[in-house]
């Protein structure tokens, strides 16, 4: 295995890990709001979060590139005040990856929250517990399989992401060249053996993650 091969896999893992961690932090509050609160334009917010499920990745990638451009407000703000350009950088790909993986984190978390009987929350409230305490002590421990599913689905989806990464990040070794792009690149160069190595590793990782998810679903009833 050459260094380039290892670096590409490490970069893929780094992108998937950071995407999962960031989405874990921002996904919980969003899932909580969607599961339990009623607010104006809630259906629009839910539709926007689910858009990556039906939208071609190139569409999101295109709009991300437009947003990152110094000719537009967001890109100009980053360029002038932070001296940063997100297009064709790891950070730019990471932001796009977070947006594109939103439904894979939020939907399992939202389903996990709504599947917990309402009486658990209400009992905790009548016992004097705040919404936060109830969330930490009652809700989270009773939705562990959903949390694992959310994290695993996000990670698995992210390591296989192609369209958004190539649009926003291109194919820069060590910076934006993740495994799925490397496969395409190696096939174009007719290096089928290397393409096969990448493909086999992605296949095994995805299989392991999905096996974990399905085994967790089976264990749901025997966790406690």
């Amino acid at each position: 295995m050459n260094q380039d091969f290892v670096n590409t896999l490490l970069l893929t893992g780094r992108l998937a890990s950071w995407t999962t961690i960031i989405l874990f932090v921002i996904g919980f509050p969003i899932a909580y709001l969607l599961a339990y609160k009623r607010f104006f334009l809630k259906a629009v917010v839910e539709a926007l979060i689910s858009m990556p499920l039906v939208l071609p990745p190139t569409v999101l990638g295109f709009y991300m590139l437009v947003a990152y451009s110094p000719q537009n407000a967001f890109g100009r703000l980053l360029a002038e005040h932070f001296n940063t350009r997100l297009a064709f950088s790891f950070e730019g790909v990471l932001i796009a990856s977070v947006l594109f993986s939103l439904p894979f984190m939020i939907q399992p978390l939202q389903n996990g929250l709504t599947s917990i009987p309402k009486s658990y929350r209400e009992t905790a409230y009548t016992l004097g517990k705040s919404e936060f305490t109830t969330f930490i002590r009652v809700l989270i421990p009773n939705m562990i399989p959903s949390i694992i599913t959310a994290a695993a689905m996000t990670f698995a989806h992210c390591i296989g992401e192609f369209g958004v990464v190539i649009m926003v990040g291109g194919n820069m070794p060590g910076e934006t060249r993740v495994a799925s792009i490397a496969i395409y690149d190696e096939v174009q160069a007719m290096n089928y053996q290397t393409a096969n190595q990448y493909s086999f590793i992605l296949f095994i990782i995805s299989l392991l993650i999905l096996t974990l998810i399905y085994s967790m679903n089976g264990k749901k009833k025997i966790l406690f």
Binding site: S119, Y120, E122, T123, Y125, T126, G128, K129, K221, F224
Partner: protein
């Protein structure tokens, strides 16, 4: 003393109706709410617990106003200090029996938890998780947990409905024990006349959201008005 004067619209199988309750419940009273499904009994308990907001009215416990629509006062559930026992008991599956009880305490007191475990004969089950308990055991844990919070008012929503007849008889004793220990107001929803006669110091009968009558069980259920308006439905 708990003073209730509320109104709340409800959607029942017979269409839209208003729950209207105006009553006073004395300290130490174990009041049974009696009526057919959809009459508004559970809605009334939820309103008292702060889980459902009435359309208008006033609820006062001792000198504390829990709800006043005119003054826009609505004390949240967390600050009413009520013990609410749901029909499904709502025991937290991630916590053991002991943890379920100690979670309810405002200040941790292991001796008090031990006392409650002993009182409700739960010592042997203290490290068990709720999914492994029987219906009767769950009911006792839910009662112990409700008491651990030292509530001002105990609200029991058909606490024995999921149990078989023999167990119901045995656990009526536990409810009486819980009420006596708290020495405060208890409201209990029930469909079972035997249960009402055995436990209640007073009864409110509700029909389509309206309080039909209030009094001692013997007076209510032997009255002519009850016979004509309810008996056919229940007996």
């Amino acid at each position: 003393m708990l003073k209730i004067d509320i109104q709340r619209s409800m959607l029942t199988s017979e269409g839209k109706t208003d729950l209207k309750v105006c009553t006073e419940i004395q300290d130490n009273e174990l009041l049974c709410l009696f009526g057919h499904s959809g009459a508004g009994k559970t809605t009334l308990l939820r309103i008292l617990a702060g889980l459902t907001t009435p359309d208008k009215g006033r609820i006062v416990f001792n000198d504390m106003v829990w709800y006043d629509s005119e003054k826009k006062i609505n004390v949240p559930s967390q600050k009413r200090n009520v013990g609410y026992m749901f029909q499904d008991y709502a025991l937290f599956p991630n916590m053991t029996v002991e943890k379920n009880i100690s979670f309810a305490q405002k200040e941790k007191d292991k001796e008090e938890v031990d006392k409650l475990l002993k009182l409700f004969d739960l010592e042997a089950l203290r490290n068990q998780h709720p999914p492994k308990l029987s219906g009767g055991q769950k009911q006792r844990v839910a009662l112990a947990r409700a008491l651990a919070a030292k509530p001002n008012v105990l609200l029991l929503d058909e606490p024995l409905s999921a149990l078989d007849f023999d167990l119901r008889l045995a656990l009526q004793h536990e409810i009486r024990k819980a009420h006596d220990l708290l020495n405060t107001v208890t409201l209990m929803v029930s469909h079972d006349l035997q249960e009402v006669f055995h436990l209640a110091t007073s009864v409110i009968t509700i029909k389509n959201g309206i309080v039909i009558n209030k009094g001692k069980p013997a007076d209510i259920f032997n009255s002519k008005s009850f016979e004509y308006s309810h008996k056919v439905e229940y007996l």
